[in-house]
């Protein structure tokens, strides 16, 4: 398994370069960016904040990566976050313990995932449409649970999930790092990842090859629902309340963006959870640059849009082909020259 490490490093190099550039910008606008101090039993610092605030998107993009690898998409994760947060909050306010609330919220997330999975895998509805149903109806359901109010709670255990620490590290960071490691191990140390990729490349042939694509597809959407529920609980715990209207609003787009920045194709196939997680960190670092530089937050969306466009252009098959043609027509090119993989030089053009 030692051979996989260099290839992984090679795979995530473009993302690491972008992250380094964005973090460098952070240092430019705020020289003490990398300062990390240890006070009152927890670590503080801007870098820690990037990891902490990026937790919901990081969690979402773990599930989203798997879904996108099967050529699907899950638009409902934001709504599932709202439902899960509402469930946890309502269970706690009814006097249940935080454990019950967490399990209840995760179970709701799994239920939502099952719904999406059945629509996609059994009823064969296009993923974008199937998950749109829950995206539209989900916030209504969440409001039904909270009865239209912002449900606040004071349960120490639940709040600790969002604002507490484990060994001085904020809990959200621990959760997403743990879940990310777990998911990566699950898909890479077993054949699971390869099977998921096979479905994404060509579902019909994967089924002919003996893959139970139906069950796997449902599992992938279950995973996405679970990640979304966890993110929803963290967001609710962070603000000590469940806001059915605004919890996780547009986070599905951020999660998809993180996956795309991570170099995963929306057309399914090869994927890397690690790269997606770095993508989530890149998004959060961009937010941090905008905040720290004192630029009006209005520019946040414009910059984000330009960033997506730049990354998309680099990853576009046409541009990859063009670069290939340019290199091939170069004077010292050899016929045996290995075909350059697309999206190899994002460093200078995105910064």
């Amino acid at each position: 398994m030692s051979a996989t490490t260099p290839s992984l490093l090679k795979r995530i190099t473009p993302q690491l370069i972008i992250l380094a550039v964005v973090l460098g910008l952070n240092v430019l606008v705020f020289p003490d960016f990398f300062d990390v101090s240890f006070r009152n039993g927890r670590i503080f610092g801007n870098l820690v904040d990037v990891f902490n605030r990026g937790a919901p998107v990081a969690l979402l993009c773990i599930g989203m990566t798997l879904v996108i690898a099967t050529k699907g998409i899950d638009l409902s994760v934001g709504a599932v976050m709202a439902i899960a947060g509402a469930t946890a909050a309502s269970l706690v306010t009814e006097g249940h313990g935080w454990g019950t609330a967490l399990i209840g919220a995760l179970a709701t997330g799994l239920l939502c995932g099952l719904w999406n999975g059945v629509l996609v895998a059994v009823l064969r509805i296009q993923p974008i449409v199937a998950t749109l149903v829950l995206m539209v109806a989900g916030r209504g359901i969440a409001q039904l649970i909270t009865e239209g109010t912002i449900l606040t709670f004071n349960n120490e255990g639940l709040i600790r999930l969002g604002a507490g620490t484990v060994l001085g590290i904020p809990t959200p960071i621990v959760i997403w790092l743990a879940l990310g490691t777990l998911a990566t191990l699950a898909v890479r140390r077993t054949a699971l990842g390869m099977l998921i990729e096979a479905i994404g490349v060509n579902e019909a042939s994967s089924r002919l090859a003996g893959i139970n694509s139906r069950v796997l597809l449902i599992c992938v959407y279950l995973a996405s629902g679970l990640c979304a529920a966890l993110a929803g609980v963290i967001v609710a715990a962070d603000i000590k309340g469940a806001d059915a209207n605004n919890a996780g609003l547009w986070l599905e787009l951020d999660a998809i963006l993180a996956v795309v920045i991570g170099g995963n194709s929306l057309l399914g196939g090869r994927f890397s959870i690690v790269a997606s997680l770095i993508g989530a960190l890149i998004i959060q670092s961009v937010n941090s640059v905008i905040l720290l530089s004192g630029m009006p937050p209005e520019f946040n969306l414009v910059i984000k849009a330009l960033l997506i466009l730049a990354i998309l252009v680099i990853q576009s098959p046409k541009i990859g082909h063009l670069i290939y043609m340019l290199r091939a027509s170069g004077p010292e090119s050899l016929p045996e020259r290995p075909k350059p993989a697309p999206s190899k030089a994002p460093g200078d053009s995105t910064s």
Binding site: I128, L132, G148, A204, I256, L267, L301, V302, A305
Partner: protein
């Protein structure tokens, strides 16, 4: 036997008539021209943008940027009318040119860079919303006498209903959209593209100009919708119309258009809009139901119509298989 090609449209129409009849049975006041007029006025901006969305979805694409474009249009108009002495009509023309160009640029990106429409229009959504924020984060009121003139144009029907200009504009847009979709070469190309880019190319459909044209129409209609929305609210606010793209997509699907493209009717979208408006009206009439029921009912309707489409597609493929007598691998 009912032709299966028209069945979804018929189902949409039947749903609307049935729903209206049920509402009217419970609240006879629903039949008044006031309710009908308000149904048109309140949903005018959504209807106009849904026409553009119908074209996009017919071609097998999706446009997530429209809600942001509407907000941008509103803010742009408000800021321009506040800060310059430009006449609103000039401003309208300017903003329509901007939004149409914006849509065309997205279409060109989708076609020439071979990128999925979903992600390109997502970037467009961020860009347009961001541009609106940059112009102004506050709600900017529009006070121009020309706006008052436009808002005062209405036809008072017997029974007190006021059919306003923007409702009429929506109906005109629908008629124009239906004519373009069903009676022009461009419309046929849109359907062809929705049937599959490969087949469309073999049939001689100019892919580049059609794709660019479709998204230009969607962008332009989003701009028109933004103008209507600014007439409706007399203000421009960068946080307005969040999520309208979803409502528009839902209306198109409820209207019987296949989300995979190639099949559907502009007229169906009109009834999709009316059904969604009716749900809201019913909730207002009822008074005890909370507004979040709108979302749940629309979600349920969306689901029902998707299932219907699925069932129809399945039925046609099995029939075709039986007719050709071969079980082709799907």
């Amino acid at each position: 036997m009912i032709r299966s090609t028209h069945l979804p449209l018929m189902v949409t129409l039947a749903t609307f008539v049935l729903a209206y009849a049920l509402c009217a049975a419970q609240y006879p006041a629903m039949l008044s021209t006031r309710v009908v007029a308000n149904l048109l006025t309140d949903n005018a901006f959504l209807g106009i943008v849904a026409v553009g969305m119908t074209f996009v979805i017919l071609s097998g694409g999706i446009d997530l940027s429209v809600g942001s474009v509407i907000a941008f249009t509103g803010v742009f108009l408000a800021v321009v009318l506040r800060d310059t002495s430009m006449h609103p009509l000039t401003a309208f023309a300017l903003v329509l040119a901007i939004t149409t160009g914006f849509g065309a640029a997205m279409g060109a990106t989708i076609h020439y860079l071979e990128m999925p429409p979903f992600i390109v229009t997502l970037a467009g959504m961020f860009l347009a919303r961001g541009a609106a924020y940059v112009l102004s984060t506050d709600s900017v009121p529009i006070t121009h006498e020309f706006y008052d003139t436009l808002q005062d144009i209405y036809w008072k029907a017997p029974g007190g209903g006021r059919f306003r200009l923007i409702g009429g504009l929506m109906i005109l847009t629908f008629i124009a959209g239906a004519l373009i979709a069903h009676r022009t070469r461009f419309g046929q190309n849109v359907y062809g593209l929705g049937g599959g880019a490969q087949t469309a190319r073999l049939m001689g459909v100019p892919l580049a100009s059609t794709t660019v044209g479709i998204y230009a129409i969607s962008g332009g209609l989003a701009g028109l919708s933004g103008i209507v929305f600014s007439l409706y609210t007399s203000a421009g606010y960068s946080l307005a119309t969040v999520g309208v793209e979803l409502d528009a997509i839902a209306a198109v699907v409820i209207g019987g258009t296949l989300l995979s493209g190639g099949y559907g009717f502009v007229a169906g979208t009109f009834f999709g809009i009316l059904i969604m408006g009716l749900i809201q009206t019913y909730i207002v009439f009822d008074g005890t139901l909370s507004s979040w029921w709108t979302k749940i009912v629309i979600g349920a309707l969306l689901f029902a119509f998707i299932l219907l489409q699925k069932g129809l597609t399945w039925a046609t493929t099995t029939r075709r298989k039986r007719a050709t007598g071969s079980a082709q691998p799907s």
